[in-house]
Subunit: 656 residues, 3 copies
């Protein structure tokens, strides 16, 4: 059953408030409370001098009131005394400027000194609270990658990168071969000569850059694993997590996920809308509900990262402070997002934060309570959710979907090393496919190239750029039908052109060669003609040679009539990206082709999905939406008339 | 009576021209000439070696011709030999890069070495010319803040900032408390640990940033006062000024104003238009007249900064060189601007510059004369003004207005520390209110929170962000009615959320709590419904809880019907910013509500104002405008038919 | 007769492929092959240790197959060991950041150490291949200026600049006078004090900046000449070239051209379109053909730079990798561009590159062959050209045009030192004039101010900013009529305002004084009225005093009716820049006025030009275009019906 929680900062409030806060949390229906992720400076006042008293007391008050505590290692905020002693742990930005103390995340993942300090403070926390009866889960650090902190260009990073390359390649000649350094005379004779890929005269070699991205990801994995190893020794069965972000893909989340017990992520749909590559008309329409599928996408992703177990560790409760503009969610959205999370397999939703801060950077960030301690809007919505929970039956884990969409981190990085067109975004490509299927009531799993493929009817590779013979072979053997977007398999692991031509190994699925690619500006006028429908080509077009059936053609003053979609019984390949309306048309086709059965009742602005035997409908519009539930259905929340921003939960099973 | 002058650079022209220049200035009707603000390198050729001869001669020629000289301290341009000896006086930009010699303003306000050198050269000038019979006024330095020079991130600035913090807080724990450093573990144990707020990983604490702004302002005040103190010893009764700029609010002008004898400012309306946050249609319409109220706003501001005494030290004479585009003012605008300045209380208008330079950065900047020494357009307009002056009666100082608008420098800085929305501009908010009232023929005084409030009927606080209990209390006691814009009183002095909630102390004027704020993107669709009129919400909206009368409501798909304007007999509070048309509607309401009597005759493109018993109308359009003056009126300049870009001056008093 | 070639990188392919590649090149009809411009690191493996074997072998294989080799000095890519030994040769960017190894062009032109190493490696290459029977031409370095590398702000550059200034001025007082350092107190007492013009507080003096541009250009000339001198000693009669770029004018190409035997340039029309300052509608229309006149302009320019001898050293063969977007040219464009080059006087066209690279930065850059060694589109088009060549008669050099357009490099730099308006582009002004005349079938020569003026009927000075008395005098004596655009002659050599007023010495051609200039924003509404036609003023407008005949007037609410075009029998002066439609109207007038006879048959999207007795028509549209050739004409390629992207070549001479 859904559990609720909040993020709490006892250090920011007078001790006199703590007991009352704990009491009100419990009364509201919360069972979890997260603490201490920025507490280092207040716990270790100077090196080796600890003040645990306040945190002991806070944990005790919270626990005694009936709450389960998520304790954090505080490594996202190294204290000032550590910077004084070791300024070399600071990160260095792409321009070569050292980023100073005064906010958070002021450390370089490649600093061996910091790694040691991080392990030490994690161990101190683990020893102190590992056996504490109230501490039921652990979070490591906070939001890796926030404020562009995965990449650092420090001397420590340079040294670690050299070392990493040596580990990867063994000999410098292997690197020369893998990177193609015979191009532009970039030949190396030792690993020490390899620069970090910033401040060059022109863009670096894509092989160089992709290896830097891989290296940087590995540094995060190592940093996280080091703390996991420390915690394991002291915390018994308490599960360990990290709170990921909704948009940062600068490191391999699957790899970090493999080292922890469950995944969690921080969900802020309002900022995600404002910053999204959508036009203003759509943003105006969705202003206070956000992109309906952005949270769902991430729930599904992190459920996979967490091997089936995921939380929302921070749920937006109202306006925040950090986006370009900070509008309010509609009243009702906090409840809607909470149930949406649960429907997509999330087990615990924690609201960030208990009470709005009176000071510092986030003072415009709302909470469940106002600064004056009175309830804010989200408080009442959480109360409603808690009440609704009580009437809901147990429903277990979310079932496997019929459709899977492949998100491959190295392919994401590959698209950054050679975007080829200025506005190419792999993130947008993936999100657009996810949203297009969701509109039809089709559930989707997000998977990686190494995931189990059994049971899927349709697997979507939106732009898995890196060729992967093993994955291609497993796809071929899987029962699923396969859709390949443009750029699939176009580059080898080291960012060479795939052989014999793209799509490389995926040619075993479909007989074609990509003989030309174009990145197209927004003002291009190419079209695609498919089943009496004329769509627009957006930013990418390929010329194919193929013996497969042509399903659609380009309509254009360039190579008019060329194949735009080709396919066979197993696999379809698209030679371009298209506008949203056309993508819908195509998704509809794919659903039929693969025999996928969507949930009934799909309509504009409504999302329908399922967890266990419970079905959910979410109304993202400001109008009442009606669905037919039938007479045999058991309704737990809401009914056939779904009010604006409303939720209905039902079961088709008689004793659901 | 209005006096006229010009800015002259004898060092840039052959000595042979000086006498003729002086003669022509006098013939033109000028009585003031400003000299020497960049003359240091030519006066002190190497350290301690002075060449006064040329400047002595120039001053003598000008003075003998009948001109009064404004002598400047030349500290805006430290000479190269000083940089050679003390490169550490150079300013450092926000990226940490030292800004080099080769233009002007290449000094850091926090350099104690430079402060000493500045005092020494000021003293040398003061001794040389303090008793000179021709030198009748002094200007210190030139345009503080030009080229973004208030903020410097040098080692000297860091040290001075530490010292300043120590002075402010006494103990580091007081700073930790005031800044809320328990947030993100930013705890300090000594003042030396506090960084300048640049190159951090994420935005600095707003308390940190606001203190840096306050510190930087104080450094300017100290720099200016040091020179004032030096001059006072030697210059007798000659008044001392500084020439402020029309858009820079990075330091507290009131504080600098308190140390000098009169204020002056540099008026360039063409660039102000081109750089203004207005749409292209409006800019096209106003292309060669500029924003009608931008110069007026600054005249009123600097009249207040100068405690009633203000000059325009530099008046744009034609196209300039420094804006994004540099169009010409309409023929007639130089005259119009001159009379506008006088009408708004300006006593002396000096034109920048006498003759267009043949070389260097400003060679595209026009003057009264062309480079070939023939008159340019402005010359003839100045001649006309001089002639008109002769027929005008004495009218004394500008009377107090019925409406006051509050400009609070720390609130401006507060809006920069936490803008919350990307396009939030306190400068725009203030200017829009000023312009809206001006269109109705309402005169406005610009005042600060410490100004005398007696006599006003209406006081406007557009967005005085920093809560100020004493000001709130004085407002309550004042006779004036009060209008509060959104964000009023929302932050404490140290950038905490005001207690119990915004508007903090201003709650004594009107019973309300701001329980939610939103910054809205330009594509938002919220509206306000007020007296049968539907306006658009622009970039800010608040949710209020209030027992006061609701005057207008929001119309929106979010919290539809919520109060947008609430008020009582004393005070009205607006919960949003609105579009220009609506603002006009609201201003009209406020004028009636407060019993303000506008000047008669207001119409599109016409501005009407008054100084003493003289009334002025200014036609900013390319059409003839007609006003009714009545038969008892005495007209001094122009008449009822006002030609394009024309001026009419009259008195309603029989023997005016 | 037209000769063809390609750029080949044997070092990037297995040796086994070389012989087959050579054979296929010859079979395709190629006679030239360029090699080795980035080969340094592979030839000189460590300092003084050479491995010539591979390059010897490659040259031998290519030569034995029948190809003539263009050997390059490899100085665009200094090897890593040289950076290890002398990191001080790296360039420094405008922010002061050293640009690192890892791409190409990582050297500072002012490094004396690098100059020595460059000379040494050039000499090693010259000695090795100077007498090689297969090496028939030499290229020095590669694309000076690519990746913004003309300007470096290194310590070496600062020292060299000081030295250069000393050479120019002799005494520091001469510099003070020439720069007008009495402005803003920028007075110097030694050359060492002069900073490089980056990271100043405000823009540098335009005299300072223009001298830095001149200095930087001179450094390139010196660098190039040093290698020329080395090569001359060893390479016998093999001609020497450099491959210029189509858009970089940061150094004086005429000066480099004077030191080499022929010019060559690298033609990439697709990227040139995408990056051009044109609106999206026009870009959409021209998406896959590019700006028709951009390649032609550069052919004409480099023919002049090469004193009549020019190659295209790199011809775009399909999509490339480096522009904002990288669309494909239409099928047929490679052929069209090749013939266009020949028509404009180009003797050899080499395609970049033989085979698309499998790795590194340019792997998306197409070639004649795909990565899998099969022919790509361009291969077939080159085959067609080669076949067509065989049927074409000899036609010799391109004849002198009737119209000349003056491109003056220092004037270009002058426009950068003081653009005065944000969007002012001398490159656009020149290209627009060239394209406007070309649309009428008028051939144009690009010339410099020192070029021979005899034989021209019309000479266009689009915006030759730097006043040049000798040029003015030669123009006056020439038979040609002269058109002067705004800004002509407005600045002296040292960036002072011209005397008595602009247009300076050009006043000897036409009696006028420019008494005011304006840079206007895009939303300005000024118009020009000329012969019943109303055009739009774009970004520049001047006020003239003139005794000459007024040909057109401004229509505007500012100085309505002022002269916009004035002229006499010899010379016409335009007081503004105008929109494209009006420019066409004006060009038509100028053509008639000067008695220029255009080629017959001009129509939309068609370009007609002539080389020797051969005439060419090029169809840049996707529609068939028809021209009347008459019965006496001999047609060599194509016919009266020109297919989309097609070419027709004919001779009006009976036995042509």
């Amino acid at each position: 059953m859904l559990e609720l929680g909040t993020c709490y900062y006892p250090e920011q409030w007078p001790e006199e408030l703590w007991a009352d806060d704990a009491r009100r949390m419990v009364e509201l229906g919360l069972t979890w409370v997260r603490v201490a992720e920025f507490s280092w400076a207040l716990v270790e006042r100077e090196e080796g001098v600890f003040d645990w008293a306040w945190l002991d007391k806070a944990v005790n008050i919270l626990g005694e009131a009936g709450l389960q505590v998520v304790m954090c290692t505080p490594t996202a905020a190294p204290p000032r005394w550590l910077i004084d002693k070791h300024p070399e742990i600071l990160p260095v930005d792409e321009n070569g400027v050292t980023r100073k103390f005064g906010a958070r995340r002021h450390y370089c993942f490649s600093s061996p000194i910091y790694l040691e300090y991080a392990a030490k403070i994690a161990e101190a926390f683990a020893k102190r609270y590992g056996k504490n009866q109230h501490v039921k889960a652990w979070q490591i650090d906070n939001e890796y990658g926030d404020h562009d902190t995965i990449y650092s260009y420090s001397p420590a990073a340079k040294q670690a990168f050299s070392h990493w390359l040596q580990q990867q390649y063994g000999s410098i000649d292997a690197l020369n071969e893998a990177w193609g350094t015979c191009f532009w005379g970039m030949h190396y004779t030792s690993f020490e000569q390899v620069e970090l890929p910033n401040n060059l005269v022109e863009e670096p070699s894509p092989s160089h850059l992709l290896d830097f991205y891989r290296f940087s990801s590995d540094q995060v994995v190592l940093f996280n694993r080091t703390q996991v190893d420390v915690l394991r020794k002291h915390v018994g069965n308490a599960p360990i997590t990290h709170n990921f972000m909704g948009h940062n893909t600068d490191y391999d989340h699957y790899a970090v996920g493999n080292d922890i017990d469950f995944a969690s992520w921080d969900s802020y749909p309002m900022g995600a809308l404002v910053n999204a590559p959508k036009d203003d008309t759509e943003k105006a329409r969705l202003l206070r509900v956000g992109l309906p599928d952005q949270p769902a996408f991430n729930h599904d992703l992190y459920r996979h990262v967490g091997k089936g177990k995921a939380w929302v560790m921070e749920q937006q409760p109202g306006p925040v402070n950090w986006a370009r503009h900070n509008q309010s969610p509609q009243d009702g959205m906090i409840r809607l997002w909470t149930w949406l999370a649960y429907a997509h397999g999330i087990d615990v939703v924690c609201y960030f934060r208990w009470r709005q801060s009176k000071f510092a950077q986030e003072q415009f960030h709302t909470g469940l309570l106002l600064t004056n301690n009175e309830p804010d809007q989200a408080f009442w919505e959480v109360a409603q959710v808690a009440k609704e929970c009580a009437s809901l039956p147990e429903t277990g884990a979310r079932q496997k979907a019929q459709v899977a969409l492949v998100l491959d981190y190295p392919s994401r990085w590959a698209s950054h090393t050679l975007p080829q067109g200025a506005d190419y975004s792999s993130a947008k490509v993936a999100m657009d496919w996810y949203a297009t299927f969701s509109q039809f009531g089709v559930d989707i799993d997000i998977i990686g190239p190494h995931s189990d493929l059994t049971g899927y009817k349709l697997i979507i590779l939106p732009d898995v750029i890196i060729d992967d013979p093993e994955f291609a072979s497993r796809l071929k053997e899987a029962e699923a039908k396969v859709f390949l977007g443009p750029r699939t398999g176009s580059k080898t692991k080291h960012m060479h052109v795939a052989e014999p031509l793209p799509p490389g190994s995926f040619k075993t699925l479909i007989d074609l060669d990509v003989v030309r690619v174009e990145s197209l500006p927004p003002y291009n006028q190419d079209q695609i003609f498919f089943e009496d429908y004329l769509g627009e080509v957006t930013n990418w077009r390929e010329s194919l040679k193929s013996s497969e059936t042509v399903l659609a053609n380009f309509q254009s003053d360039y190579r008019d009539g060329q194949p735009a979609l080709v396919g066979n019984a197993k696999c379809i390949y698209a030679a371009a990206h298209f506008d949203g309306e056309f993508q819908k048309k195509l998704a509809e086709y794919l659903v039929k082709w693969a025999g996928v059965e969507p949930h009934a009742g799909a309509q504009e602005g409504l999302r329908i999905t399922q967890r266990g035997h419970l079905k959910f409908a979410f109304n993202f519009t400001s109008k009442v939406r009606k669905i037919e539930l039938g007479s045999s259905v058991k309704t737990f929340v809401g009914g056939e008339q779904i009010p604006p921003f409303g939720v209905v939960i039902w079961s088709d099973e008689p004793d659901g």
